[in-house]
């Protein structure tokens, strides 16, 4: 019975951890939004398996030890105890999205493309709001130069730049979870303020055409913003 109760407790712990991750929005640091309903259902199923009789905690026979099938010679839960680890790590390390430290190891590669790009979105407040992935792809690969002389607005976090006086604005693009994340970065010039790594900024400016793997944005207005609830971009359109 102990062994059965241990299993139930571990399933309850894992299931409620999954449910909490989704309901609190913390899960967006790890997976894309479209995954959330599945994680939630998985958590609910784990909780149900933990509670429902005859095996679960709600079983009337379970707690009293009338049915002695686990004491002393039971199989034990074994590797299942490792499920404590994700919860423990979630408690000890504040859940955070991938940041500046992970950028260099996960840079998305540029390439050539003959694709035809859709027209730009309409400007809002004097600048075209755009995902980092869209900006980077158009800057590096659109032969028609659709970004030329367009004032754009980008949102991302700071990572160190290559030249003094510059920094990189970056964002991770994920397809499923943070394990498949790739960093999209833009070099920002013309910002006189020193920015610290992992600070989130909204930058307005125009693209500076030039060679190189990292597109350049000449900033005209920069303001600090809070880290968005959805820290990753999810595009698939601009992935290929």
């Amino acid at each position: 019975v102990t062994e059965r109760r241990d299993r139930s407790l571990l399933l309850l712990l894992t299931g409620s951890f999954a449910v909490w991750l989704v309901l609190s929005g913390t899960a967006l640091n790890f997976v894309r939004r479209a995954m959330l309903p599945y994680v939630l259902v998985a958590g609910v199923v784990a909780v149900a398996l933990a509670l429902l009789p005859p095996m679960g905690l709600l079983s009337r026979r379970g707690g009293n030890g009338h049915e002695d099938d686990g004491h002393g010679h039971g199989p034990g839960v074994g590797v299942g105890w490792l499920l404590v680890l994700p919860v423990l790590i979630g408690l000890l390390v504040p859940p955070a999205p991938l940041g500046a430290n992970a950028v260099r190891a996960r840079l998305a590669s540029s390439g050539t493309s003959t694709g035809v790009y859709p027209p730009l979105a309409a400007p809002v407040g004097g600048a075209v709001p755009m995902s980092m992935a869209e900006f980077s792809t158009r800057a590096l690969r659109d032969k028609a130069g659709s970004l030329r002389d367009v004032r754009v607005r980008l949102r991302g976090f700071v990572s160190p730049g290559d030249a003094p006086g510059t920094y990189r604005l970056g964002r991770f693009v994920i397809f499923c979870c943070a394990a498949d994340a790739e960093a999209v970065v833009v070099t920002v010039t013309g910002d006189a303020v020193a920015r610290r790594a992992d600070q989130w900024l909204e930058v307005e400016g125009t693209w500076v055409p030039g060679p190189g793997e990292v597109p350049v944005l000449a900033a005209t207005a920069v303001r600090t913003v809070r880290r968005p609830g959805e820290p990753y971009e999810y595009t698939t359109v601009y992935a290929g």
Binding site: G78, V79, L82, P86, A105, C176, A179
Partner: protein, 328 residues
């Protein structure tokens, strides 16, 4: 009702963990967090725990789907019924099992417990292995994702379908011929044979969920460590060399342990590599990676893994190269 030992090596007492202790540790950790995490965390620790948690969270729905299927097998599929369903000769049964993989929309983490449960219902190791290899690679969700990731290049998803099916069939047949019954440990049925269906279902689903998710934690920790300390760009040096680049991407697929639903997008973004090298990446990834190795050794035993992993890796690389040479 006497229960037998699960996964315990005979003669060695299973390690007893006191749950009170574990939950006390959790409570202390919750309390200590404010003290420990007052400054910004070490960036490597932060990256590692984000990737680790991401792999576990992302895989959890697929593991749960897998153990629900596994529970249904335990509660509804009698060995006799499965024997009627599965052809008795491996030459027919292995391709049939590989084709059945088209039906289970999951990723690789879910198909491991299903294969273990099929074994416990008398399905031969080679047949269960063929299903385990094909299910995560050729189901409709994965094929659609591949088609979306490679727009205008239908040969990629067709190539993936053919390469993965071929790999599953070849490994299944080789395993049927040389593998032997004992090498692939069946999952244990702990519910009595005459137990109610719900009891059989929930017993099997609970056991498999703890076992598979527990080993998933091991695999996720290994994959997160490799991802944190090995930069992806390290491979681009060999991108131009035909067979070497395919081997490099095959190793990358093993190291990254990306879900089969997402790997096509990663492959699509590796533009320096040829399409055939990237096809090898897509065929190897769902068949064998670090995370799967942990789960397979946990469910089927270490003796299984040391034979199955190299075999699968070699066959998957060859199938990917072959299909790529013909198709791309």
């Amino acid at each position: 009702v006497a229960e037998s030992t699960v996964g315990g090596v005979a003669g060695r007492a299973p390690v007893r963990v006191r749950p009170e202790l574990v939950f006390a540790v959790l409570a202390i950790a919750a309390g200590a967090r404010s003290l420990v995490a007052s400054g910004p965390p070490n960036p490597y620790v932060s990256t590692w725990s984000t990737i680790f948690t991401a792999i576990v969270v992302q895989a959890l729905p697929f593991v749960v789907l897998g153990v629900l299927v596994s529970g249904l097998i335990a509660s509804h599929a009698t060995p006799a019924a499965l024997a009627r369903l599965v052809p008795s000769h491996a030459v027919l049964a292995v391709p049939a099992a590989a084709a059945a993989g088209l039906l289970l929309p999951g990723c690789e983490c879910g198909s491991v417990p299903v294969a273990g449960r099929l074994r416990s219902r008398g399905v031969a190791p080679g047949v269960a292995a063929a299903f385990m290899l094909s299910a995560p690679a050729v189901n409709p969700v994965v094929l659609v994702a591949t088609a979306v990731a490679f727009p205008g290049q239908p040969r990629m998803w067709v190539g993936r379908l053919l390469g993965s099916l071929l790999c599953a069939v070849v490994v299944g047949l080789v395993w049927s011929r040389f593998g032997g019954e004992a090498l692939m440990r069946p999952s244990l049925d702990r519910a009595a044979a005459d137990a109610a269906r719900w009891t059989s279902f929930s017993t099997a689903a609970r056991d498999d969920l703890l076992l598979a998710a527990g080993w998933l934690v091991v695999g996720a920790a290994a994959a997160a460590t490799l991802q944190t300390f090995v930069p992806r760009g390290a491979l681009t040096a060999v991108a131009g060399l035909p067979v070497v680049s395919a081997l490099a991407l095959a190793c990358l697929a093993v190291v990254l342990s990306i879900c089969s639903e997402a790997d096509a997008f990663v492959a699509a973004s590796m533009r320096q590599f040829s399409l055939s090298a990237r096809l090898v990446f897509l065929v190897v990834g769902p068949a064998i990676d670090v995370k799967l190795m942990a789960m397979q050794s946990g469910l089927f035993g270490r003796r299984f893994l040391v034979r199955f992993a190299p075999l699968t890796f070699a066959v998957a690389v060859l199938c990917g190269l072959l299909v790529g040479a013909v198709l791309l």
